[in-house]
Subunit: 282 residues, 2 copies
């Protein structure tokens, strides 16, 4: 396999945590770790597109994944360079041939809150009708447990400072699951975009993989994971009705409340294989 194409990239991750003093209930001054948060303005071919508020761990991946998930760029090969400059809080993307109709696309974007960063809601709903996830892949309960164990052991900004959400892309093998990419950010949508960018950079196909998130499974999360062709969606948290509706329609295998040896399987049951014996009722 040839190495996947890579645009020219900076490597400008920021420190994830900072320490400030806080006074606790005992009157003690405690040096306390807090998560970073930085504005990062994205320019594409000299046009300002968006300002993202980000932890700044993986700003190049974030910019690429944002352009991918917003459907502004169709493949990684279209991107010539991604350059982050924290002096000016900017990331400058150069494309090879320009983004066709960027001006028009920008104009059309009504702000859709909660559902991501200005994606046109109607367009998204249309798009999900065309998504087909693979139906010949399975996730076993054992592999799910090995993923949850890997997540538990992963060192995170969340453990140190809270105030962030984490997303992971994980492999799905009979002998277990491995974290391929783990990104945390102050917004869930940024973390999932950064994963999408990383997948393009590494030439990773999502169609048999697992997407894990610490955050809630809202419509936005379900749509974004599906756009990356990922059939398995696992969250530590709960879900919303619209997340559930869309997962049902697309046929995503969606698992919520997944911690240690507990989980709730909501949709896409046909891809899930129960491999361990039920434990005695507690």
């Amino acid at each position: 396999m040839n190495a996947p194409y890579r645009p020219q990239l900076t490597d400008a991750g920021r420190p994830a945590t900072y320490t400030v003093d806080a006074l606790n209930e005992r009157g003690e001054v405690l040096p306390t770790a807090i998560a970073g948060e930085h504005p990062l303005t994205l320019y594409v071919d000299k046009r300002e597109v968006v300002t993202l508020m980000t932890l700044g761990q993986a700003p190049e991946c974030l910019a690429i994944g944002y352009l991918r998930n917003q459907r502004l760029v169709g493949s990684i090969e279209e991107i010539a360079a991604v350059q982050v400059d924290w002096e000016t809080d900017s990331v400058v993307v150069k494309t090879r041939k320009g983004v066709k109709g960027l001006r028009q696309k920008m104009k059309k974007r009504t702000v859709t809150t909660g559902c991501g960063q200005g994606t046109v809601f109607g367009d998204l709903m249309e798009e999900i009708e065309s998504i087909k996830l693979r139906d010949d892949v399975r996730l076993t309960e054992e592999t799910l447990y090995s993923l949850l164990d890997a997540v538990r052991r992963h060192e995170t900004v969340y453990k140190a400072a809270g105030a962030v959400h984490g997303c992971a892309l994980a492999s799905n093998e009979p002998m277990g699951s491995e974290i391929l990419s783990f990104v945390e950010d102050v917004g869930r949508h940024n973390a999932v975009d950064a994963i999408a960018g990383q997948m393009w950079l590494d030439g990773i196909d999502g169609s048999d993989k697992i997407f894990y998130t610490t955050g809630r499974l809202t419509s936005e999360m379900v749509i974004k994971a599906s756009q990356m062709a990922i059939p398995f969606l696992v969250s530590r948290s709960g879900l919303t009705k619209m997340g559930h509706d869309i997962a049902t329609r697309i046929g995503v295998t969606m698992i919520g409340r997944a911690v240690n040896k507990h989980y709730l399987l909501f949709t896409g049951k046909q891809r899930f294989v129960k491999t361990t014996m039920p434990t005695a009722l507690a």
Copy 2:
């Protein structure tokens, strides 16, 4: 005191939770409560402004608060009617005299993610320079504890279904704190906007009140609470560096990790009064 002015309003809250079946690790089918999530498109004087993804508990307050916090409307008296119609997932706002420069304002809004719903980031930063919070008000530790107790006892969608954030506006009296308004939503920014709308409807002045949130104290939350002139900001969760920086600059009294009898006081210490004796070191 005269009753505050009220526009013509529908009262179209949606059910907060729905029940779906899920399969747990023991192979049992569990009816499980999940949070609602609905698109709600806001029209102002027949112009489409934004689509909000919302739990739908307080859609009229949400629409009013959105217009307030986006600085599209300057006072509740400017609003003639707010009408929610879930058949078409829309909320139609009629103003008395139109919104001056709405078209221009809409055009100018670059999408700023994480930091709210398309507010121009530069404008927000300029605005915070002009915010002055009252400095003659105090919050005692006892009142803080009574707030945390009230929050703990409050019935919530979160307890039933998770997947939502809660915000509360609370009174701040020497004998304790009472929840004046409590809103949950799938997005934190919606919950805080709905509180802002409720405050306008009820004619509540925020300048001595406490704003409580279950969510993280990001730049957006600090700015929005400050825009409502509220000097006390309390969260169960952590905070980000930018939230901390802005709170320091504005002089917000900001308390994180506040649960039961624990808290961390980060900024604005001059307004906080420690009234209970330190307990023995645990």
